[in-house]
C-alpha cells in the first residue's frame, strides 16, 4: 500500500481515539484557562508539543515566574514512553528518506503505534502512524479550542472525578496490545508485577517506569532466545 493510502487509512481508522482525544482536549482547554494560559498560548502548545500528558504536567507548574527546570523535567519524564514508542517502530519505517522520517516522527502517537501493529504487513507504517497523528492533532486542537471557550460555563463543575481518564485510555491500548499480540504476554505481565513491587516499596515514578521496562525487556529477550532455540531444535 502506498504511503498516502496508508496515511488515509490511518485517518479513517482513528475514529475511536479521535473521540477519546477530544475529551482530553476539552479538559485541557478548561484547565489551561484556570491557570491563566491565553488562547494562542494554549493552541500553540498543542500544535507544537502534541502531548496530552506532558501538557497537563506543565500546567501544574504554570505560574510566574515559570520554573523552566521543573517543567522541563516533568515533561521529559512523562514523555519518556515516546522513547519506547520510537524504538518499537525501528523495523517499520524503512523505505523512507531520513528527512521524511525525522519530520514525520513529530506526529508519533501512542494509539497510532498500537493500532499499526494490528494492521496487515503491506501497510506503510510511517504513513499510517502519521495519518493517525494528523487526525489526533486535529482532534487535539479543535477540542482544546472548545475547552478554552466553554471554560467559563463549566468552572463550577468538579473535573477531578475524571483525572483517572488517562489510565482508562491507556488500558484500552494495552488491551489492543494483549489481544493483537502473536507472542505470549509474559514481558508485560512481568512489567506489571515489577511496577507493583516498586510502587509498594515507595519508589519514585521514574524508577517504577525504568525498573518495569527493563524487567519486561529482559523477559522479552529470554522469550525470544527460547523461541529461537526451540525453532532451531525443532
Amino acid at each position: 500500500m502506498t504511503t498516502s493510502k496508508s496515511a488515509l487509512h490511518g485517518i479513517r481508522t482513528s475514529g475511536d481515539y479521535f473521540i477519546s482525544t477530544f475529551l482530553f482536549g476539552v479538559m485541557f482547554g478548561i484547565a489551561a484557562v484556570s491557570v491563566g494560559l491565553e488562547t494562542w498560548q494554549a493552541l500553540l502548545m498543542c500544535a507544537t508539543s502534541f502531548t496530552a500528558s506532558g501538557q497537563f504536567a506543565a500546567l501544574e507548574f504554570w505560574a510566574a515566574p515559570l520554573p523552566f527546570g521543573t517543567i522541563a523535567l516533568s515533561v521529559a519524564l512523562v514523555s519518556s514512553r515516546n522513547l519506547l514508542l520510537g524504538m518499537s517502530m525501528t523495523h517499520h519505517f524503512d523505505g523512507h528518506s531520513l528527512g521524511r522520517r525525522v519530520v514525520w516522527l513529530a506526529l508519533l502517537n501512542d494509539p497510532g503505534v498500537v493500532n499499526s501493529f494490528r494492521m496487515d504487513a503491506e501497510i506503510d507504517r510511517l504513513g499510517y502512524v502519521t495519518g493517525y497523528g494528523v487526525s489526533m492533532m486535529i482532534s487535539w486542537l479543535l477540542s482544546t479550542w472548545i475547552g478554552l471557550n466553554i471554560a467559563h460555563l463549566v468552572a463550577s463543575f468538579d473535573l477531578g472525578a475524571i483525572d483517572f481518564a488517562g489510565p482508562l485510555v491507556i488500558a484500552t491500548m494495552m488491551m489492543l496490545f494483549f489481544k493483537g499480540s502473536t507472542s505470549k504476554p509474559t514481558p508485560w505481565i512481568v512489567s506489571g508485577v515489577v511496577a507493583l513491587a516498586l510502587f509498594e516499596i515507595g519508589a519514585a515514578n521514574y524508577l517504577i517506569l525504568l525498573g518495569s521496562v527493563l524487567s519486561g525487556m529482559v523477559v522479552a529477550i529470554l522469550q525470544t532466545r527460547r523461541n529461537e532455540a526451540s525453532t532451531n531444535g525443532g
Partner: protein
C-alpha cells in the same frame, strides 16, 4: 500572570523536549537493529511502559476508579470498542464516584 516571552520560551522548550523523545527512541532503535532477534524485544517495550503507568494508578485508585477500570477491560475484551469502553469508564467515574467514594 506569565509574560508572553516566558510563555513562548516554555512552549518552545516543551516542544523540543517532546520531539527529542520521539526522535531519539527511533534512532536508538536503529543502532540496535543489527542485533539478532531484537525486533520482538523492541516491539514489547510500549506495552511494558503502559503497564508501568497502569499498575500503580490502579493500585492507588479508589473503588469507583477500580470499577471503571474493570468495565473498560471487560468491554475491550469482548468488543474492542474503544469509545464504548472509555465512555462507560468515564460514566462510572462521574456517576458512581459519589456513591463508591466513601467505601
Amino acid at each position: 500572570m506569565v509574560g508572553n516571552s516566558s510563555a513562548l520560551w516554555a512552549i518552545a522548550m516543551m516542544a523540543g523536549i517532546v520531539y527529542l523523545t520521539r526522535l531519539s527512541g527511533y534512532f536508538v532503535g536503529l543502532q540496535l537493529r543489527h542485533i539478532r532477534g531484537i525486533q520482538p524485544v523492541l516491539e514489547a517495550l510500549p506495552g511494558c511502559a503502559f503497564m508501568a503507568i497502569l499498575v500503580p494508578a490502579v493500585r492507588q485508585g479508589n473503588p469507583s476508579e477500580i470499577l471503571a477500570m474493570i468495565c473498560v477491560i471487560l468491554i475491550m475484551w469482548r468488543s474492542n470498542n474503544v469509545v464504548l469502553a472509555t465512555g462507560t469508564g468515564m460514566a462510572v467515574l462521574l456517576f458512581a464516584g459519589p456513591y463508591l467514594g466513601s467505601l
